[in-house]
Assembly symmetry: C3
Homo-oligomer: 139 residues x 3
């Protein structure tokens, strides 16, 4: 069994941001030399997500509005977590809807993807340095 | 390490459909000869899901109504993604709640499941040909 | 390839409970001797979750209120699943938001976690005996 472990770093300038990281993951896969296996990509922080969906600006706008409706940022004092001095309780909730991680099949040295699958880092509480883990195991 | 990679194809006749695919996955497991490992099952499309829950018609009806409440299909023009000519923005949102993939343990050549766990393909934008990937790695 | 498979048992006294199981998973990892690999932790029941988030009481209170808003327990008769004599339809929905499973990277014999990541068992229909599966594969 072979494995590779790499970390990506993000520090967004806005609270909410969706960043396509598919090429970053492909570079790590190419480094690994792994032909058949599984690739885990996860946020190492609890107010951001890794997810797979479409790279289309209108949809990203829809995600923003929809998450804000399901888990609104304001009023800050509606959340008990924010009594600790934080104001990111909503980001912890949004991340549960969008997910912490994805697991992707590696087949014939490629991410085994359908036609529109792209990997995104979803930031819901930006302006902080955050890490994403990419780990591939296989042969 | 051994691995097997197979693809299932679905083309539903209605927009919303939940299909039990547990037996399909078990067949692939039996073909593989893998005794201990991990099995990834994921939708290869971004408006459908793979998830594990109960095979009970009333609950499936509840899922339908609940997802329609959280991410309504209509009005179409509430979503910017639909400005592209699509009318499936809601399906992209529904899929985030239900999830893209599941990872299942393989133990002693079986799906290592609790008493009610069943694997479902969740279609939220049907009438299109779609694929599901099943990949097992192990020994 | 090495693997280990263990089961944790929970029987909560309240309907809703969030239990930090990170130390339980670390014990299993230490038993396994696995240095590099992937660890799957999943609920074996369909009305509970495994998820990763912050171990902060205020946030757990927020999760409770938020899930109750998105998928209310009452009135019982709003759900067709409850026509079967159950009253846990809401727990099946809550579990989809919080997720069935997590996959965690094992790097240098440790759970490869960010600073605040903790693993939780989320019970949404307690007072029943339930199991959680922990499976690690690697080398």
């Amino acid at each position: 069994m072979k494995s590779i472990t790499e970390y990506l770093i993000f520090n967004t300038e806005s609270r909410f941001e969706l960043i396509n990281i598919t090429l970053d993951v492909e570079k790590i896969l190419n480094l690994s030399g792994i032909k058949e296996g599984l690739c885990l990509i996860n946020s190492m922080h609890i107010s951001s997500s890794i997810f797979i969906n479409d790279d289309e600006d209108g949809l990203h706008n829809d995600f923003h509005n929809w998450l804000e409706k399901l888990a609104p940022h304001k009023p800050i004092n509606q959340y008990r977590h924010n009594d600790t001095g934080e104001e990111n309780a909503d980001a912890h909730l949004k991340r549960q809807i969008m997910g912490r991680e994805v697991v992707v099949a590696i087949t014939k040295s490629k991410l085994d993807f359908g036609p529109w699958e792209q990997i995104f880092y979803g930031e819901f509480d930006g302006n902080r340095r955050k890490r994403v883990l990419v780990k591939i195991i296989g042969e």
